[in-house]
Amino acid sequence: MIEKERLVTIVGPDKVINEPQVLQAYSQDMSFVNPVRPACVVTPNKADEVQKIIQLANDTQTPLVPVSSGPPHFRGDTVPGIGGAVIVDLSQMKKVVFVDRARRVAMVEPGVTFSELIPAVNKEGLRLNMPLLPRKSKSVAGSILEREPVIMPKYQWDISDPLACAGLFFGTGDEFRTGQAAGPGTLEEQWAVGGVQKAPYGPGTGSWHRIIQGAQGTMGIVTWVSMRCEILPSLEEPFVVGSSNLNSLLELTSWLIRLRNVNECFILNNTNLAAIFAKKYPADYQNLKDSLPAWTLFYNLAGYEYFPEERISAYIKEIDDLTQRLRIEAVKTVGGVSANDILKAVQQPSGEPYWKLRYKGACQDIFFLTIYDKLEGQIGIMNNLADKAGYGASNLGIYIQPVVQGTSCHCEFNLFFDSGNPIELDRVKTLSASATKELMARGAFFSRPYGENAGMIVNRDAATAAVLNKMKNIFDPNHVMNPGKAGF
């Protein structure tokens, strides 16, 4: 265990926190993982402080839990898996290091949130490829490192996007920079010749950024990320397509993405769309939900510098052919929600309170990757399980996000519940575990294993787990980095 004094010499006295209420706050989150109180919380400001903390943790066999977003947390990855842990809270590292319009890239420290970065990139005529309505306190770096799905699948060429490069310290305390950032030269020397840490692959043959993404802080601590940005459109024209026939919407979605016509593109069921836009609960929410079709596909057409109207007009023509063939219609409003409202909303983080918590105060997410052909079946299974569990299929929030240019789909079930109600809590907890198991058996790929289901998920692929464990033993031989997480 690290003695407090040693941490103080690294970060200063103000940055080492022992107050019980603070420790209490970090000991649990909105997931079902068991609460485990940390030993203390440190809030470093600089990268070299982080390195020293890691080195100290190795010397003293102290577990470290990196955190970059503010609360509330949902996945269980920021709750210590073991006693005596030190929370390394990077949310105070808030520098936007640069935003480069010409090369479409920005670099930030881990504490920068979407609310803070969006205006900075917008100022330069850029935008982020964001997840759907992240919470206000969500760290951009955190989201990217978690491989959260992004709402513009066209611009996600690879599952690692929008991540470009990262600066980090491995669990050994060794410094590393991924991709182009690795060198030659320091970052400053690279900047001096015009390098902007954009290319993600390397150094050498490895694509090292992929080992830290999805790792839940088990391989090391990241102190900055660079990410690719997209250009701010000069003109946008959003549409919605409502239907009770999910298959038609999926068919249209696959074509929209295949033809690269659309920017933002995702599907929400009525429960989720209502949860996002309802102003009051429960009446307004229920009315709104009842007004909406079972499924709503949202997509946005954009024009840039040259003849944006013509570009959008060409896309509209093409999409009309598709919708006619599928006997669905692209419109401007479904139920009580307009496409413009959706567009405005999704280009920002969620308002407060966080949209998932507005209805019942808590939410458990079950999410996985899948392919179009299996999706309806998997939703059907979830519906059955929800009904069986007494949760009710009609209460499930469902979010379908094509990812990586349509090569797969992120499917997310949002289970709203009152965490103060032990029956509801227990029901959702049990449903979450049984659904994960059942969906896995039906081809759902839980690529991001969180919480108490992580073990079950990882064990399904023992061969991959064996290799990942070897890698873990290399990058964090003393297992100080977030032990017990990501299936390790």
């Binding site: 479409r104 060429w157 690879d158 590393f176 690795a182 060198g183 030659p184 020397e189 010749v193 015009g194 390098g195 902007v196 954009k198 692959y201 390397g202 150094p203 050498g204 043959t205 490895g206 950024h209 992929r210 080992i211 993404q213 839940q216 088990t218 391989m219 250009i231 696959s254 840039y304 040259y306 013509e310 570009r311 007009s313 060409a314 023509k317 093409e318 392919i371 179009y372 052909d373 990586v404 349509g406 090569t407 797969s408 896995m440 081809g443 790929f445 839980f446 690529s447 992580a454 998920i457 399904r460 692929d461 061969a463 991959t464 064996a466 290799v467 990942l468 070897k470 290399i474 299936g487």
Partner: protein, 490 residues
């Protein structure tokens, strides 16, 4: 070094006598190396069995596909994956294809085109493995490097079968990442130096929408293949620019406006080589094109998903070219035959050999991937240094040109400069290798990009000592030290 009879027969038991050979007479066709044996496995299980035997007998091994290039020590077991040549799956809705190592790009591309798709064919040519990680003419819209791979089936150096991502968990190929961190961090199949030890036995690659015909309307008798018509909503042009800056401006604008199906930063010499059917014609056409060109340039293909889309893209292109003072090469714009040839060759990527080997039989190149504008700045210097070799008659005259292109609508890029030379002249090779070493060193010293070839410890020093991590990884996954880095999967 010969295997003992006993050990030889143990391997032979796995693949059959007709699929294993250690006769020295075949070795010149296998890179001139004295391999312990060349083995032809037919499927993953046989690969696994062979690898396990290599571990048992402490024999080093390496796989190859078509095997164009590679670095191979003597005395190892060479796994020629030629018999593993199936297309396993094409998933049209989720846009990926799954192939074995010996499926060449031409085969996969042709199958995909029938279905309205295509994929990233590497610049090395359509005669190379579809599964290869690499770059190519089509990167602008089909990405490159390791970013097209999804799930991979991998026989580890110890002989375990690892199926990455969704493949291991759900038996589907759509994702190569997770659960948790991604094995794609190490599952990269680059040509040497440095690539994943073990054997990739199957891989899923992303596929992309193809707005063209299910079969190219190619006509003629080889090598004079032309198109009977330019496919609807397709256009190919070559634009030259008064300066490198203007060209880069145009390149970036084209990327940001997302209008190009292909943007290939050919130089005029490469265009001439690509279009022509022999070296003499090549030289003549090069002279002709030089007259029409005002400076550096690129080749671009516009392809519309429909007529309206096509018109829009052409309009934007015209605007950008006017803004950046580009000039269209008349030999292409005004001659549908030439336009068709380039369109065909630069989508099927079937003329890379003409651009590289035909004239002199050998070429040495320095490729760099990553940030386009940065690597271009470096390439200008490398090109200047090349001119002195041209003046001395040691390399083919291409005016010191380099080439490159945007990747993913200009987000990333590739720049390459090469020298074509006559293998018969030792002084030519010596001069070219010296130029290569100097320019790579300059790239590293001046912080453009890292040296690609050289002692790993030297290179790694400037790159966060990645080689020490890689070496630990290799030891962990290859405790018996039998799996040399993956050789050539070209």
């Amino acid at each position: 070094m010969a295997l003992s009879k006993e050990i030889y027969s143990v391997f032979e038991d796995v693949v059959g006598p007709e699929n294993m050979c250690d006769d020295p007479v075949i070795m010149p066709s296998y890179f001139g190396k004295d391999f312990a044996a060349v083995i032809l496995p037919k499927d993953t299980k046989q690969v696994q069995a062979v690898v396990k035997l290599c571990n048992k007998y402490k024999l080093k091994f390496r796989p190859i596909c078509t095997g164009w290039k590679g670095e191979f020590p003597q005395g190892i077991i060479l796994l020629d994956l030629r018999r593993m040549n199936r297309i396993i799956e094409i998933n049209e809705k989720n846009m990926y294809a799954v192939v074995e190592p010996y499926v060449i790009s031409a085969q996969l591309q042709a199958e995909l085109m029938k279905r309205g798709f295509h994929f990233n064919v590497k610049g090395a040519g359509t005669n190379t493995a579809a599964m290869l990680r690499g770059h190519g003419h089509l990167d602008q819209t089909t990405s490159g490097d390791d970013r097209n791979h999804l799930a991979i089936e991998w026989v580890t150096p110890e002989g375990n079968i690892v199926r990455s991502g969704s493949l291991g968990s759900t038996d589907e190929w759509f994702s190569g990442d997770g659960p948790g961190p991604s094995l794609r961090s190490i599952l990269t199949s680059a040509v040497p130096p440095g690539s994943t030890p073990g054997v990739f036995t199957k891989g899923a690659v992303k596929i992309y929408h193809w707005p063209g015909p299910s079969r190219f309307p190619a006509q003629g008798v080889s090598p004079n293949i032309t198109l009977s018509e330019i496919p609807p909503n397709f256009m190919a042009r070559y634009y030259s620019f008064p300066s490198l800056d203007k060209m880069m401006q145009a390149e970036f604008k084209i990327g940001e406006s997302e209008i190009a199906f292909e943007l290939m930063g050919f130089n005029i010499a490469m265009v001439a080589s690509n279009m022509t059917v022999n070296n003499e014609e090549d030289e003549e056409v090069f002279r002709q094109l030089k007259k029409e060109s005002q400076g550096v340039g690129f080749f671009i293909i516009i392809a519309g998903n429909c007529a309206a889309d096509f018109e829009y893209k052409k309009k934007v292109l015209k605007h950008i070219i006017n803004e950046t003072e580009g000039k269209s090469l008349e030999s292409i714009e005004k001659d549908p035959r030439n336009e068709g040839i380039l369109l065909h060759n630069c989508i099927r990527i079937c003329a890379s050999i003409r651009e590289t080997f035909r004239s002199g039989g050998r070429f040495a190149s320095i490729p760099s991937m990553g940030q386009r504008d940065l690597t271009v700045r470096w390439a200008v210097g490398a090109g200047k240094a090349k001119r002195s070799l041209i003046e001395k008659g040691l390399v083919v005259d291409d005016e010191g040109a380099f080439f490159g292109w945007g990747v993913e609508q200009g987000h990333l890029g590739k720049t390459e400069i090469f020298c074509r030379y006559d293998p018969v002249k030792p002084e030519a090779e010596e001069a070219v290798l010296k130029w290569k070493a100097e320019q790579q060193k300059r790239a590293s010293d001046e912080h453009y990009f890292a040296m690609l070839w050289g002692p790993e410890d030297e290179i790694g020093k400037g790159l966060c000592n990645y080689q020490s991590w890689w070496s630990k990884l290799k030891k962990a996954i290859d405790p018996n030290g039998v799996a040399l880095e993956a050789g050539s999967l070209v």
